[in-house]
Amino acid sequence: MESKINRYSKQLILINSFFILAWLIVSVFPFIWTFWGSFKVKADFFSRADWMFAVTGVNTLIETGDTSTVKAYVESWTEGEFWKATMNTIIITVSVVTISLFLGTLGAYALSRSTYKYTFWILIAALIFRAMPHITLVSGYLFPFFQLNVWGILPTTIIVLVAINQPFTLWLLYSFFKTVPKELDESALIDGCSYFQAFRFVIMPVMWPGVVTAGLFSMMLAYNDFTVTSLLLNQQNYTMVPKINAYLGTIEHSGNYMWAVSSVVSATAPLFMIIMFFQRQLISGLTAGAVKG
């Protein structure tokens, strides 16, 4: 897109590179620091004497005999039962993504192909639902869930997260299906397909780019959720994020601050990998609709 007359001067390039570099440091350095520090002992990561200890690992060398240690990882995964939290997160994430895409594609397809006025009101309602702070919804769930005796278990949380995720998924897929030409499924209808057959055989093969984007956002919501999981699950069923918070809070683990640090790394690493692969879809999703996940 750059035209030849629109050249950048040398100073501008210099200032610009400097600025970008500085900004990159601001956004990336905290994660690198935490990653590096997670291999140290607490006396190094929170060093009273000298912050350089966190880099060199002086106390780590004294305590464990090496300048870096995986002790915090091993302990949090075994003793701290982080493996269980990971399992729960995987179960919740996979279920939420699958179910919300299934419901979302059907609903959004219908919304994009119907010409009646009520689709507009449904989309507006979805927008309002999307804006509801999750914690206000949770305050409405707790009492009925206690009464029905479904509090604390994974299936309840999965359904709740799917529902919370629906408005955004609907909007995203709605704007995606709008870009799929109507003639495609209309010709199938003329040929004698039912609406469902048209969806199954004509739309499904071409909807994957949109589905990947919507799936990515569902995944981030389910994987990152704290409000819903921390209040709707009991301690044994905690997912990663509330588990990390629990490591910090309870007296039982107060000595094991490094568990939280290492768990933060364990929890963010897979997410970063996935985003690295699907960066393009993520950005297209953020800019596609009028809403954000």
Binding site: A110, I122, I244, L271, F272
Partner: protein
């Protein structure tokens, strides 16, 4: 698409939203009209060799029985909304008549839990959003000019703070600004004060939270601006170059006007998202000095043995009213877009 087909396609999704978003709001409202049953007290006479004393004790049996009969508690109407922890009408009236100056009145007002939380929530919303928009725009402009091969990795690096959940993001920063962490010691070194800690005063904690908010939200503004920059028409820019406009003038008079609608969109979304701020407060362990509306609800629901459903419900309703006010411009905008589309 006929109504019937539409219904079956949309039914599962609609049902899920109705049951788990629509109903909870109603349920929250219903809860807010009730209040937890009071504990039934009984007098017990306790005798020891030195005489008898009467003690008041909680009659556990009767209390549990009452709780079973009325799990939601007794009906309280709109009473919870007006109590000390919410809108606090009585306290405000009293403060209004008793305080000698406006300053004293505001002081009393802002020490009431609800207004304190509202003040923080609004301060957070309105101080985070403007820098986010400005920084997002500058970062987008400058990423847009770098070499193509470097763009991918740069964008990945820039969006990282947005990808991690706010709790983890705030923890990561919190550990660094801890008095014993790298940034904390750097700040101490900078101000030459070995006892300086960002956690020590409420103003500093607020500033830390706001900086976190900017750090977390800028990537979103960046992404949206960056995408919008790709759609800026090139012809007027080239014409401006020929007419001798400087780079600054081109940005000021061509690019920025083109991005106005996008900027309003970012502002609205940012305000709405930051209105529900909760996790950073937990991550930074700032409950003592900075409470938000969401945090008040979370706090009411956190304790496992005695959850204050009524109080949480009332705060939820008030929060929803706040969101509704912020949401109105978004709704009007969407409505207009729809009308022009048809």
């Amino acid at each position: 698409m006929p109504h019937r087909t539409f219904f079956w396609f949309f039914f599962p999704s609609g049902l899920a939203m109705l049951l788990f978003i629509g109903l909870p709001i109603i349920s929250s409202f219903f809860q807010s009209l009730h209040i937890e049953p009071e504990q039934i007290l009984m007098e017990v006479e306790k005798c020891d060799p030195f005489g008898c004393k009467t003690e008041t004790k909680v009659d556990i049996e009767a209390t549990t029985k009452l709780q079973e009969e009325q799990p939601l508690g007794r009906f309280n109407g709109l009473g919870t909304y007006g109590d000390r922890n919410h809108l606090a009408f009585d306290e405000i009236k009293e403060a209004w008549t008793n305080s000698s100056s406006i300053a004293e009145f505001t002081d009393i007002l802002l020490n009431l839990p609800f207004y304190k939380a509202l003040l923080f929530t609004l301060t957070f919303c309105f101080t985070v959003t403007p820098p986010v928009v400005v920084l997002g725009f500058i970062v987008a402009l400058s990423v847009n000019t770098i070499t193509k091969s470097l763009k991918g990795p740069t964008i990945f690096g820039v969006i990282l703070p947005m990808i991690v959940t706010p709790l983890i993001g705030s923890l990561v920063l919190f550990w660094m600004i801890d008095a014993k962490g790298i940034l904390g010691s750097f700040i101490q070194f900078l101000f030459d004060d070995p006892n300086l800690s960002l956690k020590s005063s409420s103003q500093l904690t607020w500033i830390t939270l706001i900086i976190y908010g900017i750090w977390h939200n800028t990537p979103f503004a960046f992404v949206v601006f960056y995408a919008a920059l790709q759609t800026v028409p090139q012809d007027p820019i080239e014409a401006a170059i020929i007419d001798g406009a400087s780079r600054y003038e081109r940005v000021r008079h061509i690019v920025i006007p083109h991005l106005y609608p996008v900027a309003t969109f970012i502002i609205l979304i940012c305000l709405m998202d930051n209105f529900r701020v909760l996790e950073p407060i937990i991550g930074f362990a700032a409950e003592g000095v900075a409470q938000s509306l969401s945090w008040m609800i979370y706090n009411d629901l956190r304790s496992e043995n005695k959850m204050l459903f009524g109080s949480a419900g009332a705060t939820s309703m008030l929060t929803i009213i706040g969101v509704a006010i912020l949401l109105t411009p978004v709704l009007i905008r969407t409505w207009r877009e729809f009308r022009t589309e048809r």
